[in-house]
């Protein structure tokens, strides 16, 4: 009886410890989200989503130009980086043992660990300095460089999880290797790959450093990727480091909007690639 009680006690203590660990892990997340909502929500209004910033001293205005800018810059980056990352991931997974695959994987890991500001300087040297002016395209290139290795590594890992039996079943039906990879393997791994791509999008959406000396920021609505463009992280940076209390307030609200934009993108992509069987039940 005593031993059983001791065991029960030990078990309860361990469960309690794990509970504390979980709490510690999620606490920062809720603290950040909570303070964002508390401080940012009060100025959140429709005008914030549809207007440009008001001149200093006037109230109202919004960050619509930066929402648009972030969507354009991140959108262009994703358009190029996601397909390239997925293709590289397929290659590294399907041709696992080859030297080229090993080199690709190594380079991706190095790139994954490169500070984003370094990638920003690279984009500045290659694009901004050569062209002689700042541009949203240069920002997209910097963000794209950050996205490719992230997308590639998730794709590779998820493709490796697809059972060999499934692959062989497709080959045994007379499918070519390419068709097997695209129609069966990639389709099976797709939901996970989309999640991975989304994580990459979410991460680069908040990147500020690479945009500072590429997209630069702007006060106007723009769709021209050959010119400077506003972006939410740049707005947050500018307002948070500015001298006016009203700007600080705007920075909080812009941060909240940034998180909301990422959240909406995430939900949309999940809906688009959902398992039509599982979810419709």
């Amino acid at each position: 009886m005593d031993r059983r009680r001791a065991r029960r006690l030990k078990s309860d203590a361990m469960v309690a410890l794990m509970g504390v660990a979980v709490l510690l892990a999620v606490l920062p997340l809720f603290l950040i989200l909570g303070s964002l909502v508390l401080r940012g929500a009060e100025s959140l209004s429709l005008s914030f989503f549809i207007n440009r910033p008001a001149p200093v001293g006037e109230t109202g205005g919004g960050v619509a130009h930066a929402i648009l800018g972030t969507l354009v810059i991140v959108g262009v980056a994703s358009l190029v980086a996601v397909p390239v990352g997925i293709a590289a991931g397929i290659y590294a997974s399907e041709y696992r043992g080859t030297l080229m695959a090993k080199v690709t994987r190594f380079v991706a890991d190095v790139l994954n660990g490169t500070p984003s500001i370094v990638v920003g300087i690279l984009a500045w040297t290659w694009v901004v300095a050569v062209q002689g002016h700042f541009s949203a395209a240069a920002g997209s290139i910097a963000l794209g460089f950050l996205m490719v290795p992230m997308v590639m590594r998730t794709t590779e890992e998820l493709i490796a999880l697809v059972p060999t039996e499934l692959r062989e079943a497709a080959l045994a039906l007379g499918y070519s290797r390419g068709r097997t990879t695209l129609v069966v393997v990639l389709r099976t791994a797709l939901p996970g790959i989309v999640t991975g791509a989304l994580l990459a999008v979410a991460r680069v959406s908040g990147e500020t450093a690479p945009l500072l000396f590429t997209a630069l920021g702007s006060e106007y609505f723009s769709l021209d990727i050959d010119r400077p463009m506003a972006a939410l992280p740049l707005v947050v940076y500018k307002y948070a480091t500015g001298p006016y209390p009203a700007w600080h307030q705007l920075a909080w609200t812009a941060s909240l909007v940034l998180i909301l934009v990422v959240l909406v993108l995430g939900i949309a992509a999940r809906l688009a690639t959902r398992d039509r069987f599982r979810d419709s039940r």
């Binding site: 043992g97 059972p163 039996e165 499934l166 062989e168 079943a169 497709a170 080959l171 045994a172 039906l173 007379g174 499918y175 070519s176 068709r179 069966v184 389709r187 099976t188 398992d275 039509r276 069987f277 599982r278």
Partner: protein, 258 residues
């Protein structure tokens, strides 16, 4: 490519050796398998029976480092000849695996028609007909006819395996390879597959790998005993089980090892 006297056999192998790098899994196996019969391959684990099966549709060579020596003749044609496309060959020699492998994200009907997409000559109506025909032959039609558009993963293990059989026979192959098709099924599911195998031999030549000797005795017309990569004995099933010639075959079928 020239039909000779040997073309009376559906599949014939000539001193076939199959290996993974240095490891020879199958060694100099010569077998002659007649059409429209069920042939069982038995033997202890690791005896090479599955590897042998995988050389017949050239799936073996998809494993990195795998190689083959000797010949496999499908109706007298060398399947390893340089002008033979493995993809086209695999449409003539279908295969069903140990674990049911329905494609996820495919409905029941899409799973059955999966092997038909490579056939450009088929119209939409042809495909629909072929799906029904194949499901009927696989004895699954009555159970799924009202939910052809449903998720194939919602079927039971036995139904999934019959679905895979339907998918395999839909392109109308000449030979059907079954690699321990009932290993993951319950007794009821096993029985249905065995009955199905018996029916299917009218249209197809069937080669079944099994580690279950009773199963071989129940379904097969001829049985080959494999041991350590070699084909030890090949005979009419009844003869192999009641009057084996080789002492190793006798030891195995009487349950003294394996």
């Amino acid at each position: 490519m020239i039909p000779d006297s040997a073309s009376a056999s559906a599949i014939r192998t000539e001193r076939l050796t199959a290996a993974y790098g240095e490891l020879r899994a199958v060694y100099e196996v010569s077998l002659d398998l007649e059409p429209h019969r069920v042939h069982a391959l038995i033997g202890p684990s690791g005896c090479g029976k599955s590897t042998f099966l995988r050389t017949l549709n050239r799936l073996h060579e998809m494993t990195p480092g795998a190689w083959v020596k000797g010949q496999v003749l499908l109706h007298g044609e060398d399947v390893y000849a340089s002008d033979v496309s493995p993809m086209r060959l695999r449409r003539r020699v279908g295969m069903v695996f140990q674990k049911p492998t329905p494609f996820p994200f495919y409905s029941i009907a899409q799973n059955v028609s999966a092997g038909l997409v490579t056939d450009r000559g088929l119209s939409k109506a042809d495909v629909t007909n072929r799906v029904e025909e194949s499901l009927r032959r696989a004895a699954l039609w009555d159970e799924v006819k009202d939910r052809l558009g449903a998720d194939a993963r919602g079927l039971s293990g036995g139904q999934q395996q019959r679905l895979c059989i339907a998918r395999t026979i839909a392109p109308r192959p000449e030979v059907v390879l079954l690699d321990e098709p009932t290993a993951s099924l319950d007794p009821q599911g096993t029985q249905r597959i065995e009955e199905l195998v018996f029916d299917l031999k009218r249209e197809f030549t069937i080669i079944i790998v099994t580690h279950n000797m009773q199963q071989a005795a129940r379904v097969a017309d001829t049985t080959s005993f494999f041991y350590m990569g070699a084909m030890v004995e090949h005979a009419e099933t009844k003869r192999l089980f009641t009057a084996p010639v080789d002492s190793r075959t006798e030891a195995y079928v009487t349950g003294r090892f394996g």
